[in-house]
């Protein structure tokens, strides 16, 4: 097993290295072939060896290499292969493989072709290292490495000002999260003396009641502190409010990247991490309440913003934020399995939607504004159908995959007793309506109605080449059926075994499991609760507003001008950050520069020392008068000084 575990990430790394360092020599075709081969090897091994092996109840936990040993601290590179990581590996390598193939078409004319393939392969390697880690440091390595590649890919078109801005923003916001994350890891090391998952998880229950003093006079539950710090990291990577601001801007990167990194895999790293840390989070209900409320708020508020976006990729980006909110909320109520379930289905349908959007963008000659599209269903039938599948899944219409996972989350939140659960339930239920509204607004604006693009573009509209449509179809299949196939094994079939720990009192999923009697009854049961009607209402509203009475949205936005402005400004998070944090940092930097650097260090210390030495030098130089009796006097004086010194000592 160890060899397989090593082969999976290293195959991707090898592809990345070859196309990155030698891409200029081996050419475009060889570059994409070698990276695709690497990822394909990883996917095949994951799905055919690792996944069946873990399903039959095996786990692997062991070190393959000792990175360094310093005193008591030993830092190994090791793998923990259990159902959770095996599932993640499969999803990551599958989506990555689809994106690799799709990119052949999407990036065809780009001068940075080899670099692009190197980056996405490197990303796959980093993400695999993250999910396969068996210790916190390797987790952190993968965590930072995916952040780095994300930065590189958002700024892939590095001559574009907005792309540079977006990549920098993503990097900085992620630093905030990573700072919390690394503090959390440090707290774990301080109190547990180990960074190994298994050791920490075994010791954790004994530490459940211990308190720490952060600021004198206040005491915290150790577990709450650790979990909240780790969750700050998850908020950064999984873009939860208020650290979500980087994700919409990350759409400056190429669309395949938005699909792979900023929708399907990397942003779910935070979700995965919290699920992986379930033995810790189970010990802190307070931390879970925070997780729940933040997730629910992100879920609703970001969905609202998606309604007013006009850039097709930004609509999907805000939708991603909202869906990540759902997953986070599920973590908050201990429904880790439901969260991972939604992560998986979301990976499929969101990658599908993004790649469909990419297909549309290519056909539209890189026009992304939905107001200048329309009527595309006649020109792009495959993309059109795939977008329908993705939209239905996103809106949560049975029997598409999103319905099952989202309904499970709502059900779990509804059944939970933790603080904040009733509030979260109503918030998330309301979000269902909004989700359906923005999803179908986009669908209707792009594919229905009258074509609104210019004549030249319309004449050149045609379906995308097979390298683009084949991945769409391959993703559309799981987006449609993954939900009904996976719900039973993932949620009620002990699939996760010991990789997820839920304390008995909070086990909402097992409670729901007792009422579960198969896919059919589950769907019928859904008709007895509001979400499905809200989703239908959302679709109907979208149809009425954008197909039946297309002038109505303008009237509404004028009537509710204040609300509309708040939404188009995304609640002012960006302005606030720009003013307070960026502005504050700049002001602080300027102050330190002007006062600290220019005046104190350069002026006083460096310049002052130099001036002082120069002054002393000029003075002492005068002693060298050139008169021999001065010199002789200096010798005699020196003699007497030495002598008095010795006669006294």
């Amino acid at each position: 097993m160890q060899e397989v575990c090593l082969a999976i990430p290293l195959a991707c790394l090898a592809g990345a290295v070859v196309s990155g360092l030698f891409g200029w020599k081996i050419g475009r075709v060889a570059s994409h072939l070698v990276t695709i081969l690497g990822v394909a090897v990883a996917f095949v091994l994951s799905v055919s060896v690792v996944l069946p092996w873990t399903v039959t109840g095996h786990t692997f936990n062991g070190s393959v290499y000792t990175w360094l040993t310093a005193g008591r601290l030993s830092l190994p590179v090791g793998f923990l292969i259990d159902p959770l990581s095996a599932l993640m590996m499969t999803v990551v390598t599958f989506v990555s493989l689809m994106v690799h193939i799709y990119s052949i078409g999407y990036m065809r004319d780009d001068p940075g072709y080899q670099r692009f393939f190197s980056y996405i392969s490197l990303f796959t390697f980093a993400m695999l290292m993250l999910v396969m880690a068996n210790n916190f440091l390797q987790l952190f390595f993968g965590w930072e490495a995916v952040g780095l590649v994300s930065y590189l890919l958002i700024g892939f078109w590095h001559t574009k000002e907005s792309a540079i801005y977006a990549s920098l923003k993503a990097f900085l916001v992620n630093r905030v999260g990573d700072f919390g994350f690394v503090l959390g890891i440090a707290a774990i090391y301080t109190h547990f003396g180990s960074l190994d998952y298994a050791t920490v998880f075994t010791m954790a229950p004994a530490k459940a009641a211990s308190m720490v003093h952060m600021v004198p006079g206040t005491s915290w539950h150790l577990m709450t502190l650790i979990c909240l710090l780790l969750f700050v990291g998850a908020m950064g990577k999984s873009a939860q409010m208020p650290l979500h601001v980087w994700l919409p801007d990350s759409m400056e990167g190429p669309t395949p990247i938005s699909a792979l990194i900023h929708a399907a895999t990397m942003v779910t790293a935070g979700i995965f991490m919290v699920a992986r840390m379930s033995p810790l989070f189970e010990l802190s209900p307070a931390a879970r309440s925070v997780v729940l409320v933040i997730g629910a708020l992100t879920g609703l508020l970001m969905a609202f913003v998606a309604v007013v976006q006009n850039d097709i990729k930004r609509v999907i980006a805000y939708s991603t934020l909202s869906q990540l909110g759902y997953m986070t909320a599920a973590l908050g109520v201990s429904a880790y399995a439901a969260s991972i379930f939604h992560l998986v289905t979301h990976a499929f349908f969101k990658a599908l939607l993004f790649l469909s959007a990419g297909s549309v963008i290519v056909a539209m000659h890189h026009e992304q504004d939905v107001r200048r599209m329309g009527g595309l269903r006649r020109y792009m039938p495959v993309t059109f159908i795939c977008t329908w599948v993705g939209s239905l899944a996103l809106a949560g219409i049975p029997p598409f995959s999103g319905f099952f996972s989202k309904d499970m989350i709502l059900d779990a939140v509804h059944s939970a007793h933790i603080t904040g659960a009733p509030f979260a339930y109503w918030v998330l239920t309301a979000a269902v309506f909004v989700t359906a509204l923005y999803t179908f607004r986009m669908l209707f604006l792009v594919f229905y109605g009258e074509p609104r693009m210019d004549k030249h573009t319309r004449e050149h509209l045609h379906e995308s080449p097979w390298v683009i449509t084949v991945p769409l179809v391959l993703l559309a299949i799981p987006a449609a059926v993954a939900g009904m196939l996976l719900i039973k094994p993932l949620l009620f079939g002990h699939f996760f075994g010991n990789s997820i720990v839920v304390s008995p009192g909070d086990n909402v999923l097992s409670e729901i499991g007792r009422r579960y009697h198969g896919v059919g009854p589950f769907i019928l049961n859904a008709f007895r609760s509001p979400p499905i009607y809200l989703a239908a209402a959302g679709i109907a509203s979208a149809w009425y507003l954008y197909i039946r009475a297309p002038r109505l949205p303008d009237i509404i936005s004028r009537r509710f001008h204040g609300l509309y402005t708040v939404l188009t400004n995304k609640y002012g998070f960006d302005e606030f950050n720009d003013f307070v944090f960026a502005g504050g940092a700049r002001a602080l930097g300027r102050a330190l520069w002007m006062v600290g650097d220019v005046q104190i260090i350069d002026g006083l210390m460096v310049g002052g020392t130099a001036r002082l030495v120069g002054w002393v030098s000029a003075r002492m130089r005068r002693l060298q008068s050139g008169f021999i009796y001065h010199y002789a006097f200096a010798i005699i004086a020196g003699l007497f000084l030495l002598m008095t010194f010795f006669l006294h000592v």
Partner: protein, 476 residues
Amino acid sequence: MNFMPALPLIFLFGSTCAILLIGLYVGERRTSVVYVLSQVALITTVALVIRDAQAAPIVALHGMFVRDRLADLLDIAICLLVVAVFVYSRRYLSDRDMYRTEYFVLALFGVVGMMVINSAAHFLSLYLGLELMALSLYAMVAFQRDSARATEAAMKYFVLGALASGMLLYGMSMLYGVTGSLSIAKVASTISAMPPGNIVLVFGLVFVIVGLLFKIGAVPFHMWIPDVYDGAPTVVTLYIGTAPKVAALALILRLLVGGLQALSPSWREMLVIAAFLSMGVGNVVAISQTNLKRMLAYSAIAHMGFALLGLAAGGREGYADALFYLLIYSVMSLGAFGLVALLSGPGREIEYIDDLKGLSQRNPWIAFLMLLLMFAMAGVPPTAGFYAKLAVIQAAVDAHLIWLAVAAVLFSVVGAYYYLRVVKVMYFDAPEDDRPFVLPLDGKFLFGLNGLSMLLLTPWIGTIIAFCHSAIQGLP
């Protein structure tokens, strides 16, 4: 009586007398014969020293003379330095109508004096060697008879040198008064048998030290150095700045370490003060110099401070480190002054730092070698100068003189300024005239070796330090 241990010394003395006579015979137009004979005499002396290299000390000539590892090492170093000095000086001298027998003969007599110091086992032979060296130097400084500056410098040097010699002699006489002997070994054994706190001994020690510090040019007995270095003809400065420094260290090692080891707690304190002041004054005042030779003179004072650091640290490690420092310094100093001599062509005198402006555009290879030498003097790794500084600072730290080690580091930062200024002038300033310097082939080759040695010595640093250690082991 066994003359064999003194054979190299006797050979060089005889050759020098012979060269003096031959010089008179061949006349002024064929000084090259004298030049060649002088080089042959020096190299033969080195060969003789190496042939009879001694592991165990041999005392000869009625206890006046000792032949040991230290003497051998210093003899070889001094002879080779003077060979190089001659190579660097040849064209400078012939360009200025100074290519005469006297220069070489005086220099060779100076070497004889230094070799006597290196092997002195007796206060009298020590003093004899010192005076032979000093008198040669006075005469050499005044060599350019029609130059007022050179004459003034020689006068100052002579008067102050006489004053210092007097003090040294006075100190020695007090030591004789207390111990009743002039033999260094006997003085040492008598003092170590005496109870501490003898006031006459301390008086004698202070006078001796003043004399020694004058010779080595440490603050506050350094005043002659800038004036002499600046006033003397460049080739004489080149000579003064290299071999006599090594001899001065020999003087200190023979007298203080060999003879007055029992008083080392006292003299180490004096050396601490002198080391601190020398590093401080040398480095700080060098900053405000515009004259290249004066700057190098102050740099010499600072470097002597660093060498004293090793001596002040005490212990055989410290002495060996000081010896190592001085050997490396003499090679650096040889290169720096040698360049000044080499570049001063006919009708062109290199005097100010600004005269090196734009050297990198005119003679890039020479500029690079000078850069290496300046980096070595400043103590930039991986040049040999860095290891030399590291060794003495390490010695100070080991002797718990932390504050002095910190001061040494700070002063070398100050010193880096004026060394790097030379580099800046060479590389970043525009030349005032574009004529490239034409260097004689032998001088150019030797200077290449000299500059590169700062880098090429690096792998052999350990070997050289080991040599210095074994040389120090021979001292009682």
